[in-house]
Amino acid sequence: MSKKNALAALLLTIMSASAAAKSTLNLYTSQLNDDAQMTVNAFEKAHPDIDVKWIRDGTTKLTARLQAELAAGAATPDVLLLADSVTMESLKNQNLLTPYKSPQTARFDSALYDKDGYYSGTKLITTGIAYHSKAPVKPESWNDLLKPEVKNMTTLPSPLYSGAAQIHQAALMNDPQLGWAYYEKLKENGAMPQSGNGAVMTAIASGSKAYGVLVDYMAIREKAKGAPIEFVFPKEGVSVVTEPVAIMSNSKNPEAAKAFVDFVLSPAGQQLVLEQGFLPADASLPVPQGFPPRDSIKLMPLDAAKALADTEANKKRFSDLFGDR
């Protein structure tokens, strides 16, 4: 009997209901933990009548969670702030998003938001080349990773697990100079995939690999802390994920959701992005410390709808190429 009592007591203590006088906004975000906290705090300060409940995780896990919750018919979030436009495009195709044309988007490059207003990019996370400071060649171009003197020294995030890597692959394959042949040459030169950007970062910082295809902020942040790592924006251009914000179509609090979208796109919200060490989507703002001037960074174009349609084929190509041992 005592076991049952203990269980009941446990259930009670765990399910302490929270006071809900204010209107609540449920947010799923793939921002880093501290950044997410910072964004939520700033938003709640600007909108004291809204209480934000948020969950942070990698984009893959969050989407999995969302799909499971949808399948169970359970409550889902109001707003999403996820890593990439391809994920958003897939949610849009499933009729899970509701369009909202924020007045703030007027200040942005039209490539950064969906023309029907289903999602809007909030920042630019680019993928370039990171290298260990003791690496033998200082790369400037994607083709430098194909040189014989860097054989077996390169690592890259695998599109089979990482959304940013999927977009990188789609952007690179769109480029007539690089294309799929580039991946074949990378493989020939002994490049090894990793599960994601974090693993690439670890491999380079720990010195097990000299070069890596990596997102900008990771390398630049760690370099500032003294890690033996350098980052270049290759001259052919970098691929970009835009961490778009979007409103779910079954949101129970659409007004608060719109306020949130407006906030992250507003000058104050974009200033926050800058402080967090990312390239803001708003081009009128300066670049964060450690980044080269904005006009020296060439962005590779991406068609999110096409990238989504090609995803499975691209993944299969990648897995066939790198999985032939």
Binding site: N33, T60, G207, A210
Partner: protein, 570 residues
């Protein structure tokens, strides 16, 4: 007189009723998630060749991943068996010095995240190796590390799960009948004869139990194959499932479920094999021996001690040192010396405002309560499974392993599918509470606690219960005064394993947590993913230290506990 018998019967009935109730609870706990997944896997069967299960089964990659899983887990299990039984036999049977410390230390590698072990080994033998650099032997960039291979994966899996075999075996070795061994020795049997004719046969059920749990643990492990397998495109099932997870669209859930069904079948097959072997080799014993054995090893003793020391260095000291070193530098990749050393991360750990403390409290509450509840559940459950063995019960027993074998993410998805809507009748929503994580933990770790108890129960001679019955002891008296004390060491060992695995657990809670309800694993992983390896390492070291302290506290309390329940005290 008659009224007394009546009363006895009534208490027997209510006790038995309670037991069956408990059985239903367990069935619900471990069957529900598995059945929910099976449902998801089969829900679109009408689509014929387009259905998830058909697509999965028709894909060659599925079978390759399955083969890889069986190969690495099988080889890993052999390594676990080798290491775990080496330590268990040496510590239980010989006159090795400082036994308690060895046992204590050999429990700790379980606490070190497998990725850290993998990384520290890669660093130990990589081009940045402090050790190899200082003797000028560090390899150049571009050399491929031999750990990136199926055998490398198996090696690390084997090391990671060796303590499981060790503990399963140790509880059994403590029950060895010393009289038989002494009689054999008096009759001139050699050490080897005693070992192969008495000790080994009596340990077979424990060996099978330990091997099974090592195998299913290896089967479900994601961290090690992700780190060592992905770079060489060597996919095992959990990684393949993760690939399916990162594809878009609602059919993803069905596909993941279909793959999980395959893993479930594999787990059932392994456990059925184990049960068959255990039943064949069970040799009933009458319980704990008076004192521990101590065969004199003579000149071999030092050699064996050195060898055990080396193994312990590789699996515990080296990774722990790597973790400590990483926690003391500004960022990863900076060499540790008097100029670079900083305690910033440690200040971060002890910052009361940080999420670390909240996560620590959550993880402690979850893992301790899960360990306690499972301890209480597994004792009567093991008794039922052995004494009332029947076909449905055996099926139930093999199903218990499924939630543990599945990748944590999949179990989490099953829990979301089951519990994210408000519960019927009660109208309480478990979504976003610690309760949903707690339920998932109970489902996942039941087998970890039950395995050692069950194999001890198999070795328990029913003659003792019969004798007690003849002497007039009623059902609950027999259970409480005879069965419980004899199973206590195994049950505590099992509960300790649950605590050790749950406190650091990541993959289940990864999908189930919400703000304020994070677990230690989630915090560490989150930091790791944001590139804050330094703080992540500091927290990992802190957790290992904390668990060591909890274990020391248990030793201090050992005189109030039944004999043999603290594994490192004999």
């Amino acid at each position: 007189m008659t009224s007394m018998t009546m009363h006895q019967n009534a208490s027997n009935h209510s006790m038995k009723g309670l037991l069956w109730l408990l059985l239903c609870l367990v069935a619900l706990l471990s069957l529900l998630p598995s059945l929910r997944l099976l449902f998801s896997a089969l829900v679109d069967w009408r689509q014929g060749a387009d259905s998830s299960l058909w697509r999965v089964l028709n894909n060659r990659a599925t079978w390759v991943a399955l083969y890889h899983s069986v190969y690495t887990s099988g080889l890993g299990t052999l390594i676990s068996l080798l290491l775990g039984s080496l330590f268990a036999f040496c510590l239980a049977l010989t006159n090795i010095r400082m036994k308690q410390i060895w046992v204590f230390l050999f429990m700790l590698p379980m606490m070190i995240p497998p990725q850290v072990t993998a990384l520290s080994w890669l660093q130990l033998f990589g081009s940045n190796s402090i050790l190899l650099n200082s003797i000028g032997l560090a390899p150049e960039f571009g050399r491929v590390n031999p750990l990136y291979s199926p055998e490398g994966i198996a090696l690390l899996l084997g090391i990671q799960h060796a303590p499981l075999v060790f503990l399963a075996l140790r509880t059994q070795l403590q029950c060895l009948p010393k009289e038989h061994i002494e009689a054999a020795r008096l009759n001139g049997a050699s050490l080897w004869q005693v070992f192969s004719h008495i000790v080994l046969p009596l340990c077979r059920t424990a060996l099978w139990g330990g091997a099974t749990i090592a195998f299913v643990s290896a089967l479900g492990n994601f961290g090690i194959p992700a780190m060592l397998g992905i770079p060489i495109s060597y996919y095992v099932l959990p990684i393949y499932i993760y690939q399916a997870l990162s594809s878009f669209g609602p059919s993803m859930i069905n596909e993941v479920a279909a793959l999980s069904v395959l893993m479930g079948i594999l787990a059932i097959a392994i456990v059925t094999l184990q049960a068959r072997m255990q039943r064949r080799y069970a040799l009933p014993l009458i319980g704990m021996a008076g004192r521990s054995l101590g065969f004199t090893l003579g000149k071999w003793r030092l050699g064996i001690e050195v060898m055990m020391g080396l193994v312990l260095f590789a699996i515990l000291v080296a990774p722990l040192l790597a973790l400590i070193a990483t926690s003391l530098v500004p960022t990863m990749g900076v060499p540790l010396n008097s100029d670079t050393i900083t305690f910033a991360a440690w200040r971060g750990v002890f910052d009361v405002q940080s999420s670390t403390w909240r996560a620590l409290t959550n993880s402690m509450v979850l893992s301790v309560s899960a360990a306690m509840v499972l301890l209480i559940l597994s004792l009567p459950l093991a008794w039922l499974l052995v004494r009332y063995s029947s076909r449905p019960l055996r099926w139930l027993h093999s199903m218990i392993d499924i939630p543990y074998t599945l990748p944590g993410v999949v179990l989490a998805i099953a829990c979301i599918l089951l519990f994210s809507r408000p519960l019927p009748i009660l109208e309480i929503s478990l979504s976003g509470t610690l309760t949903i994580i707690f339920i998932a933990y109970l489902a996942r770790f039941l087998t970890v606690c039950l395995k050692p108890v069950h194999s001890s129960m198999m070795q328990l001679d029913p003659a003792m219960e019969e004798a007690a019955s003849l002497a007039g002891a009623n059902f609950s008296q027999r259970l409480i005064d005879i069965v419980l004390p004899l199973l206590a060491p195994a049950a505590f060992a099992g509960a300790l394993l649950v605590f050790l695995t749950a406190v650091n657990e990541l993959t289940v809670s990864a999908l189930l947590w919400s703000a304020g309800k994070e677990t230690l694993g989630v915090v560490i992983f989150s930091l790791d993913e944001s590139g804050n390896k330094v703080l992540a390492s500091a927290i990992s070291v802190f957790v290992v230290a904390l668990v060591a302290m909890v274990m020391l506290l248990l030793s201090a309390l050992s005189k109030y506990l039944p004999k043999g329940v603290i594994p490192w005290q004999s």
